[in-house]
Symmetry: C2
Subunit: 337 residues, 2 copies
């Protein structure tokens, strides 16, 4: 392995920063993970560079010999400037993060990308999408997003904000979304919102039950008994309760999966990808939502698009962020050179 083929990949979340030295095949040669002590942009930039250097140390390689560094972040990023327009997990708006990083990373070439772009590129370069030119990765976690590769190229859109799949409208006038709109897919299928939806329903049902002199409502009883009070509901608790027969959890997971399935079917009809990778903690954690979603694709995607489609799961797991960020940096810095 020539050293000049090695890149550092960084996965920057709202709580932790992970960094790893990645070879061209996507192997992790050394890594580091630490908690962010501050969310102030300059401190975060320091933490990223420190994590990168520690990862290099773990690989027995000097930071100065890395060919470049890629950073993946759950954010809207402005194409060209690397300006972080909006990163809800970090509470950032319009932070010139690439500049802050560059000031601390010396002459090392940097690239920064949205976490979904990173995930999609990583899967194509070293995961479940190897050799596939038309590939969409959809992750359903606390947020919902898509990374889109068409014709072998990452498609980030005219201003870099493509793939905001969680904010397509699936239910006009529906539940509020964190983005300020109503009826977004994420307002139903995103983990936080899904749990909030159950909590809202449970509070109403509980008040009605108590007014009628009952301890628990009929609808949602199993869920409520399991978590104790509405405020403790999570998407994971809903899946467990659904498995045990809880009717409220079943209805909401099915409805979230139904809306997700229609949205995915429409995406498949319009883009005709060869491969759709479905992942993210909420979706992987809910076989029920996954069933409803894939049934929706089967029922509603155009027949010709469905016939060309394979559905799979991301393969990179915990390493997806660092591997994808490093390999995307490799591809984009090579293209720019």
């Amino acid at each position: 392995m020539k050293r000049d083929e090695l890149y550092v990949g960084v996965d920057l979340g709202g709580t932790n920063v992970r960094a790893a030295v990645i070879d061209p095949a996507g192997h992790v040669l050394g890594q580091e993970k630490h908690r962010l002590l501050s969310r102030e942009p300059p401190q975060v930039a320091e933490a990223v560079v420190r994590a990168a250097k520690t990862a290099c140390g773990a690989a027995g390689l000097p930071f100065a010999e890395m060919k470049g560094m890629g950073i993946g972040i759950a954010a809207m990023i402005e194409r060209g400037t690397g300006m972080v327009l909006n990163a809800p997990n970090l509470g950032w708006k319009n932070v010139p993060f690439l500049k802050l990083l560059q000031a601390r990373a010396g002459r090392l070439p940097l690239s920064i990308a949205n976490d979904l772009s990173v995930a999609a590129w990583g899967e194509r370069a070293a995961g479940a999408g190897r050799g596939v030119d038309d590939l969409v990765v959809v992750l359903v976690g606390s947020g919902v997003g898509a990374g889109i590769i068409l014709g072998g190229k990452l498609q980030e859109g005219a201003s870099g904000v493509a793939g905001e799949f969680g904010h397509i409208l699936v239910h006009p006038g529906g539940r509020s979304c964190g983005c300020g709109q109503r009826g977004c897919l994420e307002a139903y299928a995103g983990g936080h919102n899904l749990a909030a939806w159950a909590r809202d329903d449970l509070r109403i049902a509980l008040a009605a039950a108590r007014a009628a002199g009952q301890k628990y409502p009929a609808l949602g009883r199993i869920l409520l008994e399991a978590v104790g009070e509405p405020d403790k509901v999570t998407a994971a608790a809903m899946e467990r309760a659904a498995h045990e027969g809880d009717e409220l959890s079943r209805r909401l997971l099915d409805e979230a999966g139904r809306l997700l399935g229609i949205a995915l079917a429409n995406l498949v009809t319009v883009l005709n990808p060869a491969l759709l990778l479905l992942g993210g903690g909420v979706l992987i954690g809910s076989p029920r939502m996954m069933r409803a979603a894939t049934a929706g694709i089967d029922a509603h995607a155009s027949k010709a698009s469905r016939a060309a489609l394979r559905i799979g799961a991301p393969a990179l797991g915990d390493h997806a962020g660092v591997v994808g960020a490093a390999l995307l940096a490799r591809a984009s810095l090579a293209a720019a050179a």
Copy 2:
């Protein structure tokens, strides 16, 4: 102009075949249009080649000196083989049209593409999308479809059937579509289906009015007076009646526009194009539907995607088919060479 830069573009419809000699800037040097006398594939192939040769004659150039020929057709076309999987206007399924053409066109390099791909490429090469790398063209006529260019490349999907925008699901369990599904966008906004929707409503309203001893129903009276009987309703008549105050026409055009607007907003949110060109006979003919559609984009697309988007109209008009087919052939045959 060197002759070896000239291509023939062919626009093959269900009724007519048009052919033209096109220079690299998209100018028409000579053209021919004639009616199809048969829809049998071999006869259509003959007619295409004859039209192409006549167009060359009109330009004062020998057919043998053309660099290639591109054919645009309202059809699903299998990538690689040029097999026409489905062309409703011609009543074709699984017709190996490229082979039939090649047998009649000698050694001339051929390419065949969907009419929406042709329209999108033509606008980018010589129309309203010049210089734009991320461009979506949506045409609403009797059918509804999209041509998608991202990163400067035409995106036809893994098997060549991307852009079937008319067949995304916008109304679960809704009106029947010609594709065999229910609730497709085209089932509401496509011209034939839109008129059929009004006819269905008018027949019911008319029967109720007559049962009550009235000549016309209150809802749809202006439309019905204008066309005489429900069977005569067209999308154009609906737009005229809406303009004159017809409430039924207004409701249906607004609802079709509303559904189209949500679908367009979601497309913009996911793809983040720089330019959206909205055209097609039904949409251009209905300022009312156009207003509802663009209002939907403004209201529902993600703010960041909307901020990067310009909305315009296709510029090539009647020549779109022949110009786009020729220039797409130029690009794809050059890429293959």
